[in-house]
């Protein structure tokens, strides 16, 4: 029995029929083709699938798509605006905050919330704030530096955290992938 | 994994023994039991639906009773296999009469699990087993009381 869910992702409103058991992460990847959100585990430990739901970070493997009725979701694909990287994306680039890049989308989305809540976090606060996101490559040191870089540059009035753009209608539905 | 515990019935040992030996009561007391067929004396083929944390699965296997020492002791052997792995175990049950209206059953068991059930569910297994043990006796107790009342 499929259910209809209507939600906004990166400023575009979608209405789709999904199986109730479909996890949000699978919905984003398989139904909307937004493969920037990654899957790294099946027990909600790794955080690779972190997205923003109504401004709050959420591991998208911990929610069903049907629970997202009316939600505004931002994924990694929706963070850069008009070709301009978000300060956190820029920070990860500047400070070598990634190697293989697999945990990076989730790590960045979690960092967005971290800096939203605390504009000038200490190293300890940063480390605590990204505790739920695993990275196997960097040893986290440069991720911490990346977030610090972003904090500095964001406070200097660089790009603001994006608000959802004016809702658009799903331009061309991608055929759902099983 | 080791499991042990006890359960106190407010009933004489004879009645407790009788209900524990009753195949219908056994069937009703096995959690998630879907199929239960006698294949020999004290031996049954069964299908159980069990959830351990996130691992829910159907297990097909066998349950049997052995080493019966009337009113005192028996052994329950369970083995099952399903998509989420396998589980098998044995439990030793000792009955002690504490008076005309009180019987204590001590149980001590060992269970082995394998596959996803062990990998993913191991941490949840002990509390689940404990709960299943408790539910088993509660169900037996309930049936015992129902029987008593109907009499």
């Amino acid at each position: 029995m499929k259910k209809t869910v209507k939600l906004t992702v990166n400023g575009t409103t979608y209405e789709r029929d999904v199986e109730p058991r479909t996890l949000l992460v699978h919905f984003l990847r398989d139904n909307l083709g937004l493969t920037g959100t990654h899957i790294g585990c099946d027990t909600s430990q790794c955080g690779a699938c972190t997205v923003l739901v109504n401004g709050q970070s959420l591991k998208s493997c911990t929610a069903f798509a049907v629970q997202m009725q009316g939600a505004e979701i931002t994924t990694i694909e929706g963070l850069a605006k008009e070709g301009e990287l978000h300060p956190i994306q820029q920070g990860f680039w500047e400070m070598h905050g990634l190697q293989c890049g697999y945990c990076t989308p989730g790590m960045i989305m979690q960092s967005v919330q971290l800096l939203d809540r605390n504009a000038n976090p200490s190293e300890e606060e940063i480390r605590h704030g990204i505790e739920g996101n695993l990275c196997r490559c960097t040893g986290y040191q440069n991720i911490v530096k990346s977030i610090q870089w972003a904090a500095q540059h964001k406070n200097q009035g660089a790009t603001e955290v994006p608000e959802a753009d004016a809702p658009q209608v799903d331009p061309k539905p991608i055929s759902p992938v099983p | 994994m080791e499991i042990s515990g006890d359960y106190t019935f407010k009933a004489p040992v004879e009645k407790v023994w009788a209900i524990l030996m009753n195949s219908e009561a056994l069937k009703n007391s096995l959690p998630g039991c879907e199929k239960f067929e006698e294949i020999g004396p004290d031996s049954y083929d069964m299908t159980m639906k069990v959830g351990v944390g996130p691992i829910k699965g159907t297990y097909t296997g066998r349950i049997s009773m052995a080493d019966k020492d009337e009113l005192k002791h028996y052994k329950l052997l369970v083995s099952g296999q399903g998509s989420a792995g396998f589980l098998n175990g044995e439990g030793l049950f000792d009955l002690t009469s504490k008076g005309p209206e009180e019987t204590v059953v001590n149980y001590k068991g060992r269970a082995n699990v394998g596959g996803t059930l062990a990998g993913l569910g191991a941490r949840m297994l002990a509390p689940v087993a404990k709960k299943m043990g408790n539910d088993f006796f509660k169900s037996m107790d309930k049936q015992l009381q129902a029987e008593t009342e109907s009499v």
């Binding site: 990287l85 070598h96 293989c100 697999y102 990076t104 505790e131 | 296999q81 394998g114 062990a118």
Partner: protein
């Protein structure tokens, strides 16, 4: 050699060119790809560690909705050209057949027993659940030392005592131990680890009916090797197989081997005539992807009273798991060859006994053998220092190979290229403030606090490998450098980076060498249809070997460019110099010159050159180094052990590493950070735990402790630069150094912290619970030091009394 770099890319902290796509979610990982018509593959795995397969009933599964095919071991065998290969080494009895789907027996939990292809993932999974398998359970063998004893259950009937192979290296140490003034001996357990690259394995196979070829897009560190091996497994000729490794989310060795699922996906795609995708789940990965380490090491060391080490004798039991994975027996070889470390030890004997057990097969995991060697050596150095009453650093200093001794033959197998171990050590001691930290420690002890200092001086062997130094194959890599008509440069490399950043470092080299903006350079990799035969990325070889090939190819392109420039300027080829992006005639004044871009254009279009110079400006070159490279360094750490909780906090971590010339210090540091973290995590957190029945009980990320940001310290890094002449870049490789050095540092530090309690060793990982028990119940609670003394004595017998 690198030329002077007017553009200044090499040596600079150039931001990575990989990153823009990865920070915006535009990466291209295998599971992101879903060609039209893709169907899904799901594996049914054995829940038993050891069992005979009685019968398999697939009828119900086949009848389920969406199911396209079901394979058992026997079904698959018909389409199989050969089993999954392993590379034998030493006294191998025979390589047991490792079929992608088990046929007779299952030998570890996770061994595949059937595979289902269906239209959706859910359907494939549901159908797999409907397959009925009857198992006859067999006794399980997990303990290596028991497995080799007579009468132990056998995994493979044809393999006596479960011994996969024995490997013996070095010289006779009997005399050294007979005449030893001081000896120490110990048994170390180097626990089993799960690599846990954040991206699980994925295989997407597309069989093309038209020409009967197959494209496998896959999470691989070495697509060419995989293609060759795959050909032998699926029976499709190599030139009809294309292996593509797009963005790969980390490997750490776990994506070197060829795996069952890749074979099954290819065969399934051929059968169902559709693209077939298999995506591993994390909990599946825990049992299905190779594990690392899992050694038991008996070690004894002899020395003179004044601290000169005279002998080293090791027996290592190496757990192969249930089958021989590709490099299973190669890992202990890599341990043995480097086991004397940076010390001049005249007598060294190493024996490895590789054992099959009912566990997931093991293979190379970051460091592969060298962490095992460094761990036991550096722990034993501290035990020896303790026995001699010397400071651990002084004992090391006394035994270092001296700079004038290079190239140095280490008795076992290797010729170390270059090194200055004392310089790195002195720098580390100074940055760390070693003497001050000793005073702090003393003060802390008076206040009942447990502070410890740990150390490790290491040398590792990497940059695989010299043509003659490998076991089964030459060791080289390749590069194609193509100067395009418009003056841009495209490079195709045979290495397959997956986080190491060669899209950047290689572009830095090219931009400097041709004096072009880095934006004009593209580095391509990971596609067997695009690059010549390369060995891939592992063993810290990408830059040391792949970079060498790149330098050779650049040189060849330059040579041809000079020929063209000479033609264009009507000069002698020998008189052409290339400087500042321009070709000019040596000694000729008046400034006649031609730019690199003009040469490129002429190379492709100038009709005047037709009779004289072949068109195009491109070269393919292979580089095969004459030796390995030997990075080295000193790592120091201070830890505090919380007596209340047993938790170990790293107060300070200083490392001075020497990887020769650094092309991009930012990337070098990143590699070290990651390496350190994996090594520290082995010391403190990670461990694959099996129960008595061979069930992996640490089989999820809930139970297997990967380190998080909150547990780790801020590392202080520095370096020395001792170049090597082994490769044209003078680089030594840095991917594994951090992992190799860091594990013993932490354990040495914790043991030092708990020295007042009489603690001599603690078996890894040093989890709080274990450490707490030792603090509260005394050193006797320590499983490995106390209980094993007699076992160790028994092992080495009476020879060292």
């Amino acid at each position: 050699m690198l030329t002077a770099n007017p553009t200044g890319y090499v040596g600079s902290r150039i931001k990575r060119r990989e990153d823009p796509r990865l920070v915006t979610g535009n990466g291209n990982f295998t599971d992101d790809l879903t060609p039209v018509g893709t169907v899904y593959l799901h594996m049914l795995r054995s829940p038993y560690a050891h069992a005979k397969i009685g019968s398999i009933n697939t009828a119900a599964a086949k009848a389920m909705p969406g199911v396209l095919a079901v394979f058992t071991g026997e079904d698959l065998k018909k389409d199989l050209a050969g089993p999954i290969p392993g590379v034998p080494y030493g006294t191998v009895q025979t390589v047991p057949a490792y079929y992608p789907i088990a046929t007779d027996k299952v030998r570890f939990v996770g061994n595949i027993v059937a595979a289902v292809v269906a239209e959706t993932r859910g359907q494939a999974r549901d159908a797999a659940e409907a397959i009925e398998v009857q198992y006859d359970v067999l006794p399980v063998v997990l303990d290596m030392e028991k497995a080799v004893k007579d009468g132990s259950p056998l995994l493979h009937d044809e393999i006596a005592n479960n011994i996969c192979t024995e490997i013996e290296l070095g010289n006779d140490v009997t005399e050294a131990f007979n005449t030893a003034e001081v000896t120490v001996e110990h048994r170390f357990v180097n626990q089993r680890l799960v690599p846990n690259a954040l991206e699980n394995r994925v295989a997407l196979a597309e069989f093309h009916q038209g020409d009967e070829s197959v494209t496998l897009t896959v999470t691989s560190q070495n697509p060419h090797i995989l293609r060759t091996l795959l050909s032998g497994e699926i029976g499709i000729a190599e030139h009809k197989i294309r292996v593509v490794a797009p963005d790969v989310g980390g490997g750490f060795g776990s994506k070197i081997a060829t795996y069952a699922e890749e074979v099954i996906a290819c065969i399934a795609s051929r059968k169902v005539k559709k693209p077939v995708k298999w995506t591993e789940t994390r909990s599946e990965s825990f049992v299905a992807t190779i594990h690392g380490r899992d050694n038991i090491d008996y070690i004894r060391m002899s020395a003179t009273k004044d601290g000169k080490i005279t002998g080293l004798d090791i027996t290592a039991y190496a757990n192969m798991g249930a089958y021989m994975s590709l490099l299973g027996p190669t890992v202990p070889v890599l341990c043995g060859v480097i086991v004397p470390g940076p010390y001049a030890i005249p007598n060294v004997h190493f024996k490895a006994i590789c054992v099959y057990t009912n566990t997931t097969p093991t293979d190379a995991y970051r460091g592969a053998g060298r962490p095992e060697a460094t761990y036991m050596l550096e722990r034993t150095m501290n035990m020896m220092a303790e026995k001699l009453g010397m400071d651990p650093m002084e004992l090391r200093r006394k035994n270092f190979i001296q700079p004038d001794q290079f190239p140095y033959f280490n008795i076992v197998a290797l010729n170390y290229d270059s090194g200055n171990y004392e310089a790195a050590m002195d720098k580390a001691l100074e940055i760390f403030g070693y003497n001050e930290m000793r005073k702090t420690q003393e003060e802390a002890r008076k206040n009942g606090k447990y502070i410890g200092i740990g150390q490790s001086t290491y040398v590792e062997v990497c940059g695989l490998g010299p043509g003659s130094g490998m076991t089964i194959s030459r060791g080289y890599d390749c590069a194609v450098v193509r100067a395009e008509l418009t003056g841009k440069v495209t490079v195709f490399t045979g290495v397959a980076p997956h986080g190491q950043g060669q899209e950047t470092t290689f572009a830095q080299i090219v931009a400097d060498e041709f004096n072009v903006p880095i934006e004009d350079v593209t580095i391509k990799h990971g596609d067997t249809e695009m690059t010549p035969y390369g060995m891939g990325t592992y063993g810290s070889r990408g830059t040391a070997v792949g970079g060498g090939a790149l330098m050779l190819a650049i040189g060849s392109v330059k040579d041809k460019a000079k020929k063209i420039a000479a033609f264009q300027m009507e000069a002698n080829e020998e008189d052409i110099v290339f400087e500042g992006g321009k070709f000019s005639v040596k000694g000729a004044s008046g400034g006649k010159s031609i730019s690199f871009q003009e040469v490129c254009l002429k190379a492709y279009i100038d009709p005047k050159m037709a009779p004289v110079i072949e068109p195009g400006l491109e070269a393919t070159r292979y580089f095969e180094p004459g030796n390995f490279v030997y990075p080295f360094g000193t790592h120091l750490a201070a830890v505090e052990v919380d007596a209340e909780t047993g938790n170990v906090k790293i107060l300070k971590y200083v490392c001075v590493d020497d990887c020769g010339k650094q092309l991009n210090p930012m990337i070098v540091e990143g590699q070290i950070h990651g390496g350190l973290t994996q090594g520290i995590a082995q010391a403190l957190y990670e461990e694959a735990v099996y129960d008595d029945n061979g069930q992996l009980v640490s089989g999820t990320l809930m139970d297997y402790a990967l380190p998080t940001a909150a547990e780790l310290p801020h590392y202080t890094l520095d370096h020395t630069v001792t170049p090597t002449t082994v490769n044209p870049l003078g680089v030594k490789g840095i991917g594994e150094a951090g992992t190799i050095a860091s594990t013993p540092v932490i354990v040495n530090a914790v043991v030092d912290a708990l020295k007042p309690l009489g603690v001599k060793d603690i078996q890894m990982p040093l989890r709080p619970e274990k450490v707490w028990k030792i603090i509260h119940n005394g050193a006797s609670a320590n499983g490995s030091a106390g209980a094993d003394a007699s076992v160790v004595e028994q092992h080495f017998g009476e020879d060292n009394k």
